[in-house]
C-alpha cells in the first residue's frame, strides 16, 4: 500500500508568490464572511436563515473540535458534553434575566471548567484510550443530566424570553461566533501554541523531549475547544427555546461534531467549516427529501469519503487543483 501523508497534511507544493500569500489569510475569511454578513440583501426565507443558523452553530462546535482533534490529534467523542453544558448554562442564565451574550460567555466558561475536570484524568491516557474514555464520560454525563431535578431532568428545560422573536438577531449571533471561532483557529494555527499542538499530534513524547509540556498544552486547547462548543450550544439553546438532555447531550451530537471536520478535512483551518456546511445542508436535505433512505445515503457517503478521500473535501480539492495545475503546465 502506498504510504499516505497523515490526514490533513498536504505534500509540499513549492513556494507561493510572496505578495499573494501575505494577503491570502485575510482574503479567505472575508470571502466567506461577506456573503453571509450581507445575507438580508438576498431576501432569504426563514428556513434558509434557520438552516444557515444551525449550520453556523455547527461550524463553531466543529472548529472547536478541530482545535483538539485536528491540531492536537486528540480524538474526542465527548463534545456533546460541552455543547450540552453550554446550552443548559445559557438557558438557565437567560431565564435568570442575564443578557444573552453574557449567558453565552457563561456557557463557554462552564464548558471550559468541565473540560478541565474531564481532561485532568483522561489526558493521562494516550491515543485511543482517551477517545474511548470520552465515550464513557459523554454517556455518563447525559444520564446524570436526565436525573438532575433543577434543570427539569429528562423533561427538558424551556427558555422563556419576552418580546418578539427576531431570527436575524440569532443568525448574526451565530455568524459572529463562527467568525470568532475561525479567527481563533487561524491565530492558534499560526502561533507558538499551534506549533506545539502539531508536535504533540505527530509525536507526543518527542515533543516533550524538546520542552513542550503535552499535558498542559492539551488541557489548554481542550478548554478553548470546549468554550467554543459551549458557546455554540448556548446560541443554539436560545434559538430552540427548549432543550433536553436526550437532545443536546446525545451521543449522536458528539458524533456529528466529529464527523464535520472529517468530511471537510481534519487539522485544516477550513476543513471543519466546509464539513459543517456539507453536513448541515446535505444532511437536512437528505432527511427532508428521502425520509425512508436518509441513513442509507448518509452512511454510504461516509463510507465513500473514508475509503476514497480520507483528507476530506479539502484534500479532494487540493488533489483537483494539483491535477488542474499539472495540465496547465503541460
Amino acid at each position: 500500500m502506498e504510504q499516505e501523508a497523515p490526514v490533513g497534511v498536504n505534500e509540499d507544493v513549492g513556494d507561493a508568490k510572496p505578495g499573494f500569500s501575505r494577503i491570502a489569510p485575510a482574503v479567505g475569511p472575508l470571502l466567506v464572511l461577506a456573503p453571509l454578513a450581507a445575507l438580508p440583501l438576498f431576501g432569504p426565507g426563514p428556513n434558509t436563515v434557520r438552516l444557515l443558523f444551525v449550520t453556523l452553530t455547527l461550524v463553531t462546535a466543529s472548529v472547536g473540535w478541530n482545535l483538539l482533534g485536528g491540531f492536537a490529534g486528540q480524538i474526542s467523542f465527548g463534545f456533546a458534553v460541552f455543547y450540552g453544558l453550554g446550552a443548559y448554562t445559557a438557558a438557565l442564565s437567560i431565564n435568570a434575566g442575564i443578557p444573552p451574550v453574557v449567558s453565552f460567555l457563561m456557557g463557554a466558561a462552564v464548558a471550559s471548567v468541565a473540560s478541565l475536570l474531564i481532561g485532568l484524568p483522561t489526558f493521562r491516557l494516550k491515543g485511543p484510550y482517551f477517545a474511548i474514555a470520552t465515550i464513557g464520560v459523554s454517556e455518563a454525563v447525559r444520564v446524570v443530566m436526565m436525573n438532575v431535578p433543577w434543570t427539569g431532568g429528562a423533561s427538558g428545560y424551556r427558555i422563556v424570553e419576552k418580546g418578539r422573536f427576531f431570527q436575524m438577531h440569532h443568525y448574526y449571533t451565530a455568524l459572529g461566533l463562527a467568525a470568532l471561532a475561525v479567527g481563533i483557529s487561524i491565530i492558534v494555527r499560526r502561533s507558538k501554541l499551534g506549533l506545539a499542538l502539531t508536535a504533540i499530534r505527530e509525536d507526543q513524547d518527542a515533543a516533550s523531549d524538546l520542552g513542550v509540556n503535552p499535558f498542559a498544552t492539551k488541557l489548554l486547547i481542550h478548554a478553548l475547544a470546549a468554550a467554543l462548543a459551549g458557546a455554540a450550544g448556548g446560541v443554539y439553546a436560545r434559538y430552540a427555546a427548549y432543550i433536553d438532555p436526550d437532545g443536546v447531550f446525545a451521543f449522536r451530537n458528539g458524533i456529528a461534531i466529529l464527523l464535520m471536520p472529517i468530511i471537510g478535512g481534519v487539522g485544516t483551518i477550513w476543513g471543519p467549516v466546509i464539513g459543517a456546511f456539507v453536513y448541515g445542508l446535505i444532511h437536512e436535505e437528505v432527511v427532508a427529501n428521502f425520509p425512508q433512505a436518509h441513513l442509507l445515503i448518509f452512511g454510504s457517503l461516509l463510507i465513500l469519503i473514508i475509503l476514497f478521500e480520507p483528507a476530506g473535501v479539502v484534500g479532494l480539492s487540493n488533489k483537483l487543483m494539483r491535477v488542474l495545475g499539472r495540465e496547465r503546465k503541460d
Binding site: P6, V9, T198, A207, D209, G211
Partner: protein
C-alpha cells in the same frame, strides 16, 4: 570543577527485572562522555531516565544542582538536558524548519529572544539548509538523523544526550556526524553519547562508561577502558581455553 550532571544509584525495574541497577557516575562540563555496552545493557533506559522520559525505580539524577528525578522530559529539556532518539522521530507533517522551531521555541533557550535566522543557521550547521522547506516525512535516514540533532541543538541544551546517532549511517555520514559532535562540544555543550559501536566512541570520547546487564562495569578514559579485561569479556565473551 563540580559535575554538571550526576547520576546517583539509579535503578529501574520492569516487572521485577532490573534494566538498570545502581548506576552512579558524574559528568563534568565540557566533555563528550561515552556510554557503551552490548545490546540490552540498559544504556537507552538509563538515557531515558536522565532525560525524564522514564521514572527510575530508585536513585536520583542531579543537574547543575537541580534534582531532575521527578521532572518529566519537558522539564528536563527546559532545564537544559535534551535527548535525541535512536530512531529519529520527526514531526512528520511539519517542515524541516518547523521541526527545528519546536526546539527553538520550547526548549532551554526559549525564554531568550533569538534572531529569526537562528533556525536556518542551525540547519546550515548540520547541512540541511537546502531542505528547510521540505516536509520532514520525506527526508532520507541520514538527513533525519541530522534533523534529530538540529532539533535538539535548537533547544540549546547544556547537556545533550545522544542515542546512537551513527546507527544506520554509512561510514562517511558517520564521520560527518562525529565531527559535528566535536563541534558541538567546542561550543560548550556537554555530551553524553550512548553508542553500541566501540570504534565511534573511541574516536570522540573523553571518558567512557561501560555498562552490562544494567550495571556499570567500568569507567575511565577510552584507552584505559579498551584494555579492561571485564569490558573485553562483555563484548567478546569469555575467551575459551588458553
Amino acid at each position: 570543577m563540580p559535575p554538571i550532571l550526576s547520576v546517583d544509584r539509579i535503578s529501574k525495574y520492569f516487572a521485577g527485572l532490573a534494566a538498570v541497577k545502581d548506576v552512579t557516575f558524574d559528568v563534568e562540563p565540557g566533555g563528550i562522555y561515552g556510554l557503551i555496552g552490548p545490546n540490552g545493557a540498559g544504556k537507552t533506559t538509563l538515557l531515558s531516565i536522565i532525560a525524564g522520559s522514564l521514572r527510575p525505580t530508585g536513585g536520583a539524577v542531579m543537574f547543575a544542582g537541580n534534582d531532575l528525578t521527578r521532572k518529566r522530559s519537558f522539564g528536563a529539556a527546559r532545564a537544559g538536558v535534551v535527548r535525541t532518539h535512536q530512531i529519529p522521530r520527526p514531526f512528520r507533517s511539519l517542515t524541516v524548519l518547523e521541526n527545528v522551531e519546536v526546539g527553538l521555541r520550547f526548549g532551554h533557550g526559549s525564554h531568550t529572544s533569538h534572531a529569526p535566522q537562528a533556525a536556518m543557521q542551525l540547519l546550515e550547521r548540520v547541512g540541511l539548509a537546502n531542505s528547510s522547506r521540505r516536509l520532514s516525512a520525506l527526508l532520507s535516514v541520514g538527513d533525519l538523523k541530522r534533523l534529530e540533532l538540529a532539533r535538539c541543538l535548537a533547544a540549546q541544551p547544556n547537556v545533550l544526550l545522544c542515542d546512537e546517532v551513527c546507527s544506520g549511517l554509512t561510514e562517511a555520514e558517520s564521520a560527518q556526524v562525529l565531527d559535528l559532535l566535536c563541534d558541538i562540544r567546542r561550543s560548550g555543550t556537554t555530551i553524553l553519547y550512548v553508542e553500541h559501536n566501540l570504534k565511534a566512541i573511541m574516536k570522540v570520547c573523553d571518558r567512557v562508561i561501560v555498562m552490562n546487564y544494567g550495571q556499570k562495569l567500568a569507567e575511565g578514559p577510552p584507552q584505559q577502558v579498551q584494555v579492561d579485561p571485564a569490558v573485553i569479556e562483555a563484548y567478546i565473551g569469555r575467551p575459551t581455553g588458553n
